[in-house]
Amino acid sequence: MGQLVVNGLALGSIYALVALGLLLIFNTVQIVNFAQGQLLMLGAFIGISCAVTHELPTAASWAVTMVAMALVGVVFMTLVYFPLRGRPAFLVILTTIAMGIVLENLALIIWGPLPVSLPSPVSGPPLRFAGVVISMHQLFIFATLAVILLLQFLFLTKTRFGILMQATAQDLHTARLVGIPVNRTIATAFALGTVLSGIAGLLVAPIFLAEPTMGGSLGLKGFVVSVIGGFGNLPGAVIGGLFLGLVETFGARYISSNFRDAYAFIVMIAVLIAWPRGLFGEKTSEKV
């Protein structure tokens, strides 16, 4: 029971990380990136190329992955979002999905279809506590989530750039009028959001194996989490992520593991039926 809670929370932390990356982009340009899962997969494979194939030390391979992902984020924005600014959100959903297909198949071509494992950046004997085993990697996941949540909060509210980002999110045109470098702000949001999904990839790969098709369901879970937490809400995303991790772990244990991937959607549909704007409410309403 306690073990299930720990495992569920670790899984949920990863979902929360995916959601935090989604939200960074969503909060700036009101666009949901349906390729977030494939970006996560890409992060995992870049990490594997660094740490396993080229045997770089952990810190170096994390650094390389993060820089590479930031670049990927900017390219991604240029191809998928930039040409469609001001056009219906619906079209951007489709371009991000299409880009997800491109990334997934490029990964299949480059890295092949076989699952690969990535060693955890931390090692050491697991903690044992009242019959519950917490691995070092799980602790590392919790710590990473906490640090990223804190950094993201400080970045958005305390730094100049974060405030520019929030201003851009509220009203792109006015932001441009008052001299905010809107394009650079948006590019940064995409870069950071992509880096976050890359980190999630580096954390997932040691638990599940990495394979090119791993992104689809993880990306969707990140989205489910954002919906449960209410779009644009950081603490909501974390609570939503942990909640979903617990639901899946307990559902797989006590109901049926075949339907593991369905629980997320069932929870989401239930939440949306009850609260059409998510548990913690999206604040904005439609502009006429």
Partner: protein
């Protein structure tokens, strides 16, 4: 303008003649089978066009309705029910499913609707995969009884082809009729501005639900024909990937255009087979191609064609 109208009729007549002539030209079973699947996909995409093209609601559940129709038909005929009951059974199942999904979700906005429909498709797929005694699991169902009305039914792929062409013609005519009815205009109004439509007395929730249901029935009936003309079904044909593929057929062909639906569905069904030598690269190019169409020609290839035509007519 009149010559344009006449030219359109000529083009339509030529397309119909060409479609009818195909089995006379080729006896290659593979090609006819591919065309049969293309026609079935076209019917499903025409259904999706009601929801997405006209009512403006994103829907990634269309492949699941397709699958529900196919599995209902396969399970019914395999357990001994006469074929004639299956179109009705399929329609009843998809109407029930579309109401279950549509009633609570039709008030949701873009992203939420996209996600709930993806979720719905995934739940249906998981049920099909794991309810093995009934659905055959991942290996699917084989040797499904064919179309047969009081013992009379088509033999061979060419005869199936003609039946499917007739079904497609009916699907196109119904779609064209609905488009110019009060319901069709209400769908367009809902897409263009929900607020304005509500102000003009359109019940947008009901309109969206109607579009969603008609779309589901198209997919369900296409699924019924799929099961009984292809005679083999598996969950892969109705997965989330398939739902995305159907959506791209609509986008590439041209949202809201019947000609576009036909063009997009036929082209994107045949293209992967024709470009098989590209292997994995096909999907990479496919993704980039979809992005290119959305960015460069948001009305799809149908809009490019009609613009060219108008320009040429203008010059004359």
């Amino acid at each position: 303008m009149e010559s344009l109208q006449r030219r359109r009729w000529l083009v339509a007549a030529a397309v119909i003649a060409a479609a009818l002539a195909v089995p006379l030209v080729t006896h290659d079973g593979y090609i006819i089978q591919l065309l049969n699947i293309a026609i079935l996909n076209t019917i499903v995409v025409l259904g999706l066009n009601f929801v997405t093209g006209w009512a403006g609601q994103i829907n990634f559940g269309q492949a699941a309705f397709y699958g529900l129709g196919a599995y209902t038909t396969a399970i019914a005929t395999k357990s001994g029910l006469p074929w004639i009951t299956t179109p009705f059974l399929s329609a009843i199942v998809v109407i029930a499913a579309s109401l279950t999904l549509g009633l609570p979700t039709m008030r949701l906005r873009t992203y939420y609707l996209a996600m709930t429909t993806i979720g719905f498709g995934e739940i249906i797929r998981l049920i099909i995969v794991h309810w093995e005694p009934v659905t055959g699991g991942t290996s699917g169902l084989r040797a499904i009884p064919g179309i047969s009305i009081f013992g009379i039914g088509p033999e061979g792929q060419a005869q199936h082809y003609y039946i499917l062409v007739i079904a497609l013609a009916v699907a196109i005519l119904v779609a064209a009729r609905v488009r110019h009815s009060a319901l069709g205009r209400a769908m367009i109004a809902t897409r263009d501005s929900e607020i304005a439509a509500e102000q003009s007395g359109v019940d947008t929730t009901r309109t969206k639900l109607a579009a969603f249901m008609i779309g589901a029935v198209y997919a369900g009936l296409a699924g019924c024909l799929y099961a009984s003309s292809i005679r083999f079904i598996s969950p892969d044909s109705f997965s989330g990937t398939q739902a995305i593929l159907l959506m791209t057929m609509l986008i590439v062909g041209g949202m809201g255009s019947i000609v576009g639906c036909v063009f997009g569905a036929v082209a994107l069904t045949i293209l992967p087979e024709a470009l098989r030598f590209l292997g994995q690269w096909y999907l990479v190019l496919y993704g980039l191609g979809v992005i290119a169409v959305i960015v460069l020609a948001p009305g799809g290839l149908a809009s490019v064609a009609s613009q060219l035509q108008l320009r040429r007519a203008g010059v004359r």
